[in-house]
């Protein structure tokens, strides 16, 4: 059966800016127009550190006939946020510039926005808000986002980890931050207690294994072998040290030896998490007690 993908295009201005590349607004407009019918949403071309230029790009894209999602960034003058919503033209707005900021400053910024600008007096959101690069579980739970995007599932998997929901009264629970469990056979912290699957108590390890099996995955098996100099790798083998004296042989494919399977597990975690969120819109109330942020 064919899938109906929802494709959201971001300009990638931050990545480009961090590499010293400037994205041409006319090229971006041309690109969006070419593929517009396949896109669910597309963002304005933001100019890092220059909200006025970002605003001008918004207007330029609109004049060309497009309807980009406006983006307001951490640290920008609040007048630009009000400028967007005072037009009454936008029902969906993105918040960005949060990557690399610590939780404390983000909570302060977002509490202010959601309590004074983005929600009504009862705390109900007046706009759909997208959180660009919203990787913090606690921040995802704290605010009535309409949508977020996250790279956490990739980063966790590529670092050798999987997300596992916490376990309580025979249930997997999704309203608290998950455990990040390292499973890779190459993980540098595999002997550190409470981080790698091999370092947990038998009971906890069994819970983790149960979750892995429930999702239809396996840990997998490997064998480590010392080899002679000039050894040539065969199928299912890889070097595990710089000196090229030891190899890992995959006996059974699984989470410990395949990042793609870890990525899949992490996507499944986020899909399950998504199902547990209250239906939008929901009331925002500032939580004074921290949430461990």
């Amino acid at each position: 059966m064919s899938k109906k993908y929802e494709l959201f295009i971001d300009s990638g201005a931050f990545s480009a800016w961090s590499k010293g590349i400037t994205i041409d607004i006319n090229e971006y407009i041309k690109f969006i127009k070419k593929y517009q019918k396949y896109l669910s949403y597309y963002a304005n071309l933001d100019v890092i550190g220059n909200p006025e230029a970002t605003w001008q790009n918004q207007k330029k894209m609109e004049v060309s006939g497009l309807t980009p999602m406006p983006c307001f960034h951490f640290g920008e003058d609040i007048k630009y946020l009000t400028k967007y919503y005072l037009t009454g033209n936008y029902e969906y707005l993105a918040l960005g510039g949060m990557v690399g900021r610590n939780s404390k400053e983000l909570v302060e910024w977002l509490d202010n926005l959601f309590s004074n600008y983005l929600c009504d007096k009862q705390g109900m959101p007046i706009l759909k808000i997208h959180g660009f690069g919203m990787t913090s579980f606690n921040l995802m739970m704290r605010y009535p986002w309409f949508s977020v995007d996250s790279t956490s599932w990739i980063i966790c998997g590529r670092m050798g980890g999987i997300y596992v929901p916490q376990y309580e009264n025979n249930n997997w629970i999704y309203n608290v931050a998950p455990w990040k469990i390292f499973v890779s056979s190459q993980s540098p912290n595999q002997y550190e207690e409470g981080k790698h699957i091999e370092s947990f108590s038998l009971n906890t390890r069994n819970h983790i294994l149960q979750y892995i099996h429930d999702k239809g995955y396996k840990l997998g098996k490997i064998e480590i072998k010392k080899v002679e100099k000039e050894y040539k790798l065969k199928d299912k083998e890889r070097w595990i040290n710089k000196e090229k004296t030891k190899i890992e042989i995959v006996i059974e494919k699984g989470l410990i030896n395949d990042y793609k399977l870890r990525d899949e597990m992490n996507i499944l975690y986020y899909l399950d998490l998504e199902k547990t969120f209250p239906k939008w819109p929901w009331q925002f109330k500032i939580k004074k007690s921290g949430l461990g942020i």
Binding site: E6, I9, G12, I23, K37, D149, E264, I267
Partner: protein, 61 residues
Amino acid sequence: MKIYFVAPELFALKLTDTILLSYYDITISKIPFRKISFKYILNKRQLEYENIFCSSSESAL
């Protein structure tokens, strides 16, 4: 709350259908798999909207 998955490779597209890709990645950056994912999604969407009767013969991921 809807979660958009950033820049998945083809193997991951079988699990999720809410994807975020960036213009920079698709057109300028040298990371190939994001371009491949973009083309794949476009292809799927085009089939769905313009040639719905072909959907059963599409190759599975």
